[in-house]
């Protein structure tokens, strides 16, 4: 959806100089910093979950729907599990969900796009049409089908989502590749007999990495929202695994009875997705030299 926003870096920019400038310019972009901090917090919470959480997130240890109090900072949910522990462990699920979907999308889509752009011709046509096919298949149908075949687990569902995201990554990777591949020095390199991997690494990769990076941050946030949507339809996380999406979906029935069960996961999702989006925006601003900040 937002893949078009990633502008293409001009051809032939060498990697080294760009990296120096990168860190300085990220630092000067407030939204990116905020984003980075938010994401950093979530990652930290995910890593330190067992230490931070007071209780087993799947254990029903108290009266259901308690308000926040000394013993249970976030109150308890409808089955009597500690909300706060579930929120904390939920960070792991969210990150897992995002990373898995994006990894699949990058591996499948990114490489396909680069190869399509690199080889061109009928390879390009065929792979892009295959990507079209994937794109046409509604995400839900794919998710249901894959979980049906592989078994209903969050991993399998996010694999399906990764496949759905792949065409976007392919499209993003293909553009810069096409642009660079036609340049004289790349053709020269091929003529000399430089190996394909070398060409890919030295010339293609630096030019696709920027837009792919931006898309990655965006897709990370979208994956989390998608998991929430799938949990709403009952196709996402398997209970009793705590995922913010599932918690939010379960909370629908209790909105006017005990709003806390909805507020906390909602805030958690919002913070994380906001963080990734701000980070992505910041990176986009920085990596695309055609945009000048005013």
């Amino acid at each position: 959806m937002s893949g078009v926003g990633a502008a293409v870096a001009p051809a032939g920019r060498t990697p080294a100089r760009g990296r120096d400038r990168l860190s300085r310019r990220v630092g000067r972009t407030p939204p990116a910093v905020i984003g980075g901090v938010l994401v950093g917090c979530v990652v930290l919470v995910a890593i330190a979950a067992p230490v931070l959480a007071g209780y087993d997130p799947a254990a029903q240890i108290a009266t259901p729907l308690l308000r926040p109090s000394g013993g249970f900072l976030g109150g308890t949910d409808q089955l009597g599990r500690d909300e706060m522990s579930r929120i904390i462990f939920g960070a792991r699920v969210s990150l897992y969900v995002g990373v898995l979907a994006v990894a699949v999308a990058l591996a499948l889509g990114g490489t396909t796009g680069v190869l399509a752009g690199f080889y061109g011709g009928w390879i390009d046509n065929v792979t892009m049409r295959v990507m079209d096919i994937l794109f046409s298949l509604p995400a839900l149908v794919l998710a249901i089908a894959i979980t049906a075949v592989l078994g209903p687990s969050l991993t399998n569902v996010m694999l399906a989502i990764g496949i759905v995201y792949a065409p976007t990554f392919a499209r993003i990777a293909r553009g810069p590749t096409l642009a660079v591949v036609r340049l004289p020095y790349v053709e020269a390199a091929r003529a000399i007999g430089a190996s394909t991997p070398a060409i890919l690494l030295r010339h293609i990769l630096p030019n696709v990495s920027a837009p792919l990076l931006v898309q990655t941050t965006v897709s990370l946030s979208t994956a989390i929202l998608t998991e929430a949507a799938l949990s709403f339809l009952g196709l996402g996380t398997q209970p009793p695994t705590p995922s913010w999406g599932l918690m939010l979906s379960d909370a629908r029935q209790y909105m006017l009875i005990d709003p806390w069960v909805a507020v906390l996961p909602g805030v958690a999702i919002a913070v994380t997705v906001l963080g990734f989006n701000l980070l992505g925006d910041g990176l986009r601003d920085v990596l695309d030299p055609r945009i000048r900040t005013m």
Binding site: V4, P31, D132, P138, A148, V273, D285
Partner: protein
């Protein structure tokens, strides 16, 4: 011309590919219409099960089923729903207006809010304004859209004791009622999508505003608004329109959850129900419909690129 022909051929190949994939995919789902009809207690005897399979043509070999379906599709006949017995093509056509209306109104809403905000973010010199616009936009994007929908419903009914009439009234039959019915769903969708348009407008405007012809216009003494609207915005529109187009595609793909929550029988909900009911003709028909729309739109967009930017040429 040759490009067109070749592209058309590839498009047909892609559509054929989709048809094979969805045909197989839907049959990979565990359980068939037989199980759904029995309802889980297995009360259909083997004779009865065979009768059901025969009734729906599921006892023929797979390639035969596929070719039969393909043949009818080429003649415009998408088959009959297993569950409701209604012909699929008219069913899809009857669901289309709702999905289209939702999509169109959402795009309009998103543009009306997103483009001005994006322009604001691009011209403002205040970091605070820029950050604020960004965050406001992103907030809508950061919450799952079923959540926004439910919050809107609860707010409307609890605080305002208001909800529109429940049975869908098409815009030509009752424009005011129809608008009321569309209001909440469109709002929930637009809130989620506005951020992308804000972002794209902002970056596109920034890029254009940095161009030489803008500086020239300013030097000539063209007032600021004139520069903004006549020179900058018009050129910035291309990527904005692209993004709106992509969102349109996403919306036309059927926003299942919005449709379910607000009780609007659109294409997305039709498809999902078809999957749940193992209603092969409905699933296959709907997916082919989406695929055809997507592929055709894609082709059109690619062709438009050639006319918009003469540097892009296809051999």
């Amino acid at each position: 011309m040759r490009y067109l022909i070749r592209r058309a051929l590839w498009t047909i190949a892609a559509l054929l590919g989709v048809s094979v994939v969805i045909f197989l995919l839907v049959r990979l789902l565990p359980g068939t219409i037989v199980d759904i009809l029995a309802g889980g207690e297995g009360q259909l005897s083997p004779v009865q099960q065979a009768a059901v399979r025969h009734q729906f043509g599921l006892d023929r070999p797979l390639p035969v089923q596929y070719l039969f379906w393909l043949g009818s599709m080429l003649r415009g006949d998408l088959g009959w729903s297993f569950r409701s017995g209604q012909p699929v093509a008219p069913l899809l056509i009857s669901r289309l207006p709702i999905t289209i209306e939702l999509a169109v109104l959402s795009i309009v809403g998103v543009s009306l809010v997103g483009i001005p905000l994006g322009i604001l973010a691009s011209v403002s010199r205040s970091t605070r304004v820029k950050t604020a616009v960004q965050i406001i936009g992103l907030l809508g994007l950061s919450v799952p859209n079923f959540w926004i929908a439910i919050l809107l419903i609860i707010t409307a009914s609890y605080l305002f004791h208001w909800l529109p009439a429940l049975i869908y009234v098409p815009p030509w039959a009752g424009p005011w009622v129809n608008l009321q019915q569309m209001f909440l769903p469109v709002l929930s969708l637009a809130l989620g999508l506005v951020a992308v348009v804000v972002r794209m407008t902002r970056s596109s405007m920034l890029e254009v505003l940095g161009q030489e012809y803008v500086t020239v216009a300013q030097a000539k003494g063209v007032p600021a608004w004139g520069v903004l609207l006549r020179h900058a915005l018009r050129n910035a529109l291309i990527p904005i329109v692209t993004v709106l187009g992509l969102q349109m595609g996403y919306l036309l793909g059927g926003v299942v959850i919005t449709e379910q929550i607000f009780g609007l029988p659109g294409l997305g909900w039709t498809l999902l129900n078809g999957v749940y009911q193992r209603d092969y003709p409905v699933v296959q028909g709907t997916v082919m419909f989406f695929a055809a729309t997507f592929v055709v739109v894609n082709l059109a967009v690619d062709l438009t690129y050639t006319s918009l930017d003469p540097r892009i040429r296809y051999e």
